[in-house]
Amino acid sequence: MSDALLNSLIIEYLHSTIRIAVLIVLPCLGEVFLERSGVINIGMEGAILTGAFFGVLGSAITGSALVGVVFAVIAGAIVTLMFSVVVVTMRANQIVSGMAVNMVALGLTSFLNRLIFGVRGIPLMVAGIDPFPIPYLSNIPVIGRILFQQDVFVYLAYVLVPMAVFVMYRTTWGLKIRAVGEHPEAADTVGINVYAWRYRMAVLNGIMCGLAGAALSLSQLNTFTENMTAGRGFIAMAAVIFGRWNPASATLAALAFAATDALQLRVQGFGIGISSQFLMMMPYLFTLIAVAFFRGRWSMPAALASSYARESD
C-alpha cells in the first residue's frame, strides 16, 4: 500500500472519528454537569431519540433544518425536565425512572413517526444540515480535513467543550453545581437551592441530548428511523464515568470510544482479525476496569443518585 493511500486512510479514519464522537460528546457534556449535581440520567438514550425525531419533524414541517434543530432542543429539554420532576421533586429512584424515560421515548417516537410520516419503504428524507468547511482553516494539510471539514455540530462542540471546562471550574455556577453534588446539605445551608440547580442541569442535559439527536437525524442521516440511537446514550454515560466527571477528560474518553467505534466499522470492511465485537466492548470494559481498580480514587460526586430532602420537610 502506498504511503499516500495509507495517509489518506488514516486521515479519513480520524475524520470519521470526530464525526462519530460529536454524537457522544454532546450528551456527555450535559450528563457531566447533571451527574456533578447529583443526578444520574440513564434516560439520555430516550432524550436523544426524542430530539432526533422532533428535529426531523421540525424540518419536515417547515422545510428548514434550523427550525428542526430548535424543535429537537426543546423536545430534549422537555423530556429531561419531566424526568427531573419525577426524580428531584418526587425523589423517585433515578435508575428506574431513567429507564422508564427510555421506554416512553421509544414508544412515543415510534408512534408519532408512523402517525405523521406513515409507514414507508424508503425513509423520508428531510432538509438536513450539510457539512461545510471552515475557510482558510480547512486548507491546512492533514488537520484541515480532520477538524475543519465537518458539520456545524462538530464546530459547536469545539466551542462547547472549553466553555464547559471554564464554567465548571472557573465560575461560581460550577462551584455551586459541584457543591450540590458533593454535599447538598452544606450547599443548602449557604442558601443554594439544591432542587433548582438539579432542575437546571437536567434541562441542560436535555438540550445537549436534543442537539445530539438533531445531529444524528438532520446532519448525519437526514431521516428518522425507529430506535436509531443504538446505545449512544449509554456510551456517553460510560464516557462520563471514564472521564471522571470532568468535561475535558470525558471528552477525551468520548473521542477514544468514538475511535474504537470508527475502527470497528472499518475493520468490518477489511475483514481484519480483530473482531468488531471486541472493539465495541472496549469502552465499557475499560470503564469497568477503571472503576473497579481505582475504587476510592475514582471518586464520583458524593451525593450521586441519592435523593435530597431537607430534614424539616
Partner: protein, 520 residues
C-alpha cells in the same frame, strides 16, 4: 444597653416533645453568653430557630431590638447572625476558600475569582489568630482546623452575632483554649457570642452571663461572677424528686464484662475512649452516666464488636472478644438496647415477629439451618407480647406503626428473651412516656436480679441513681470515677459529668453537701 438578640414566648414542638416551652430571653450586645443545659433541654433547638433552620411554632424574635422573621439561614446571615454547628457544613473536596465563598456574591460574578477572597480570608484569619490557610483542602484538615474554617466563614459574612453549638466537643483541651482566645478577641471587637454547652468548666472560664435551660424552659439567667459550678448544676438538674424504685441489695457474682485499658477512635480519628477500664459483675447494674458525645456510642459499639479497639482488651466471662465478629459476641450472651432506637434498634417496616427475630434467625428453635418455623416464631412472639406488655393487635403488626414505648418494649423483649449474660442498655427510656419508662426500668432491675450483668449507659440522672448499684461517669472518653450509688447524690454525678473527677469532689469546699452517707 441594647440587646443583640431577644426571644419572646418561643414555643417549638417536635414529634411528641415540646422542645422550647415558652422561652423568653434577652442577650445584650457585646458579651459572651452561654446557654447551658442537659441533653434535651432545648438549647440547640432555640439557636436553630434563631438561625432559620427551624420554624418556630409561636413567639417572636428580635435582633438589635427589631422584630424579625427568619425563615432560612440566608435571612439569618443577612441579619448578621452566624452559626457554627456541631456537624460542619463543609464540602470536603473543596478548599477553604471555595467553601467560604460558596453561595456568596462575588465581585466579578460569575467568574470565580478566588484571589481576593483568599486575601480576605487570610486577613481575617490573621487578625483573630485563627491560622486558616485558604488554599488548604478541607478534607485534609483536622477537626479543630475545620471548626476554625467555619468560624472564618461566619466572620467573612460579617456575622455580628456568632452562635457556637458545643464547639469544644470536637476539640482537644489545648485547641479549646485557643478557641477561647479567639472568642475573647471577637468580643473585644464588639461582637456578641452565644455559646451552647453542657460543660460547666467552660462556662465559668469564658462566659459573661449564663442562661440555664431545663426541659425546654428557662431556669434563670445569671452573671457568671455570681455563681459557681455547684449552683449551676443545681439549676441544670434541679429535681428534688426522682422515681423511687424498690431495689433489693445487689449480690454480684463474678465478672461478666471487663474493659481493660481500652482506647478507641471515632470515625474522625479522634480518640473517643481513653484507657477505659471497668468491670461489670453478674447480678449488678453499673450506671455509666454522661452526656451524649463523650464516648457512649463508641463504648456501645466496642462491646458489641462493631468497632475495633486501638489498644486494650474487652472480655466477656474472661474471654477476649477482640477477634470475634458481632454475631459471635451475641452468641456469647451479650444483649443490647441501642441508643438510636429507630436506626439500629428496630426495622420499622418489619412486623413485630420479624423484629423479635432479629436475635434469633439462626437459633435452632426457629430455623433448622434455612427454613424459618413460622408457627413457632408466631407463638414465641405472642408470648413475648404478653410478657412484655407490647400493645398491638397481633404479632404481624408492622412495628413502625407502634408507639415509641411499644417499640422499645419490643426491643427489650427481643434482647431479654435470650436471657443474656451481659445487657448493655443505652438511653433505654429516652423519648418514652411515663408508663413505658416505669415498665422498662422495672424490667432492667428484674434482669439484674436474674443474674445478668447490666451496663446502663444513660444521660438521665434519675435513671442512673434509681437503678444503679455502682455509678461511673464517662466524660471526654475517660472514666471520671466509680462510686457506690449509696454514697453519692445527683449533684455530684452532674459535676463529674462536666469534668470533675471523683477524688476532686471530696476536696472541693464549694460542694455544699456531705460526701458520704447522704441521701437526697
Amino acid at each position: 444597653m441594647t440587646n443583640a438578640v431577644g426571644f419572646e414566648n418561643i414555643i417549638k414542638r417536635f414529634l411528641g416533645v415540646v422542645a422550647n416551652d415558652d422561652i423568653s430571653l434577652a442577650i445584650p450586645r457585646n458579651e459572651i453568653h452561654s446557654l447551658l443545659g442537659e441533653n434535651g433541654s432545648g438549647k440547640t433547638t432555640l439557636m436553630n430557630i434563631l438561625y432559620g433552620l427551624y420554624r418556630l411554632d409561636s413567639g417572636r424574635i428580635y435582633v438589635d431590638e427589631q422584630p424579625v422573621q427568619i425563615n432560612s439561614p440566608q435571612e439569618a446571615i443577612a441579619h448578621g447572625i452566624g452559626m457554627v454547628h456541631q456537624h460542619f457544613m463543609l464540602v470536603p473536596v473543596y478548599t477553604v476558600a471555595e467553601n467560604i465563598i460558596l453561595g456568596q456574591r462575588l465581585k466579578r460574578e460569575p467568574l470565580l475569582d478566588l484571589s481576593s477572597a483568599e486575601q480576605s480570608i487570610s486577613d481575617i484569619s490573621r487578625s483573630y489568630g485563627l491560622g486558616v490557610d485558604p488554599r488548604a483542602e478541607v478534607s485534609q484538615l483536622s477537626v479543630g482546623e475545620q471548626q476554625r474554617v467555619e468560624i472564618v466563614k461566619a466572620l467573612y459574612r460579617n456575622a455580628k452575632i456568632l452562635i457556637l453549638d458545643e464547639p469544644t466537643s470536637v476539640l482537644t483541651p489545648s485547641e479549646a483554649d485557643e478557641l477561647f482566645v479567639v472568642l475573647r478577641r471577637l468580643k473585644e471587637e464588639g461582637r456578641t457570642i452565644i455559646f451552647i454547652t453542657h460543660k460547666l468548666k467552660e462556662v465559668m472560664n469564658i462566659a459573661d452571663r449564663v442562661t440555664v435551660l431545663r426541659g425546654g424552659r428557662v431556669v434563670d439567667t445569671v452573671s457568671a461572677k455570681d455563681v459557681n459550678e455547684a449552683s449551676l448544676v443545681r439549676m441544670m438538674v434541679g429535681r428534688e424528686v426522682f422515681f423511687q424504685v424498690d431495689k433489693s441489695i445487689a449480690r454480684p457474682r463474678g465478672v461478666a464484662l471487663e474493659l481493660d485499658n481500652v482506647s478507641v477512635s471515632n470515625d474522625k480519628g479522634k480518640l473517643a475512649l481513653k484507657n477505659v477500664s471497668f468491670v461489670v459483675e453478674k447480678g449488678e447494674i453499673i450506671g455509666m452516666a454522661g452526656v451524649d458525645g463523650n464516648g457512649q456510642v463508641e463504648l456501645e459499639e466496642t462491646i458489641l464488636g462493631l468497632r475495633t479497639v486501638d489498644s486494650g482488651d474487652v472480655r466477656i466471662c474472661n474471654q477476649s472478644t477482640l477477634k470475634l465478629r458481632p454475631d459471635e459476641i451475641i452468641k456469647r450472651g451479650v444483649a443490647s438496647i441501642p441508643s438510636d432506637r429507630e436506626r439500629t434498634g428496630i426495622i420499622g417496616a418489619f412486623t413485630i415477629s420479624e423484629n423479635l427475630l432479629l436475635k434469633g434467625w439462626n437459633d435452632p428453635r426457629f430455623s433448622n439451618h434455612t427454613f424459618l418455623d413460622l408457627k413457632k416464631i408466631r407463638e414465641y412472639s405472642e408470648n413475648l407480647m404478653q410478657d412484655y406488655d407490647i400493645r398491638a393487635p397481633r404479632s404481624s403488626t408492622v412495628v413502625g406503626h407502634l408507639s415509641g414505648g411499644n417499640k422499645q418494649k419490643a426491643v427489650l423483649a427481643r434482647e431479654l428473651a435470650s436471657k443474656p449474660i451481659v445487657l448493655v442498655a443505652c438511653q433505654p427510656t429516652r423519648g418514652l412516656d411515663v408508663g413505658a419508662t416505669e415498665y422498662i426500668r422495672q424490667r432492667i432491675l428484674l434482669e439484674r436480679d436474674r443474674g445478668a450483668a447490666v451496663l446502663l449507659i444513660s444521660a438521665d440522672l434519675d435513671e442512673i441513681l434509681a437503678l444503679s448499684d455502682r455509678i461511673m461517669v464517662l466524660f471526654n472518653g475517660e472514666i471520671m470515677g466509680s462510686v457506690d450509688s449509696d454514697h453519692i447524690n445527683m449533684e455530684e454525678i452532674a459535676l463529674m459529668m462536666t469534668g470533675w473527677r471523683a477524688k476532686d469532689l471530696e476536696n472541693h469546699e464549694s460542694v455544699n453537701v456531705a460526701f458520704r452517707g447522704n441521701s437526697l
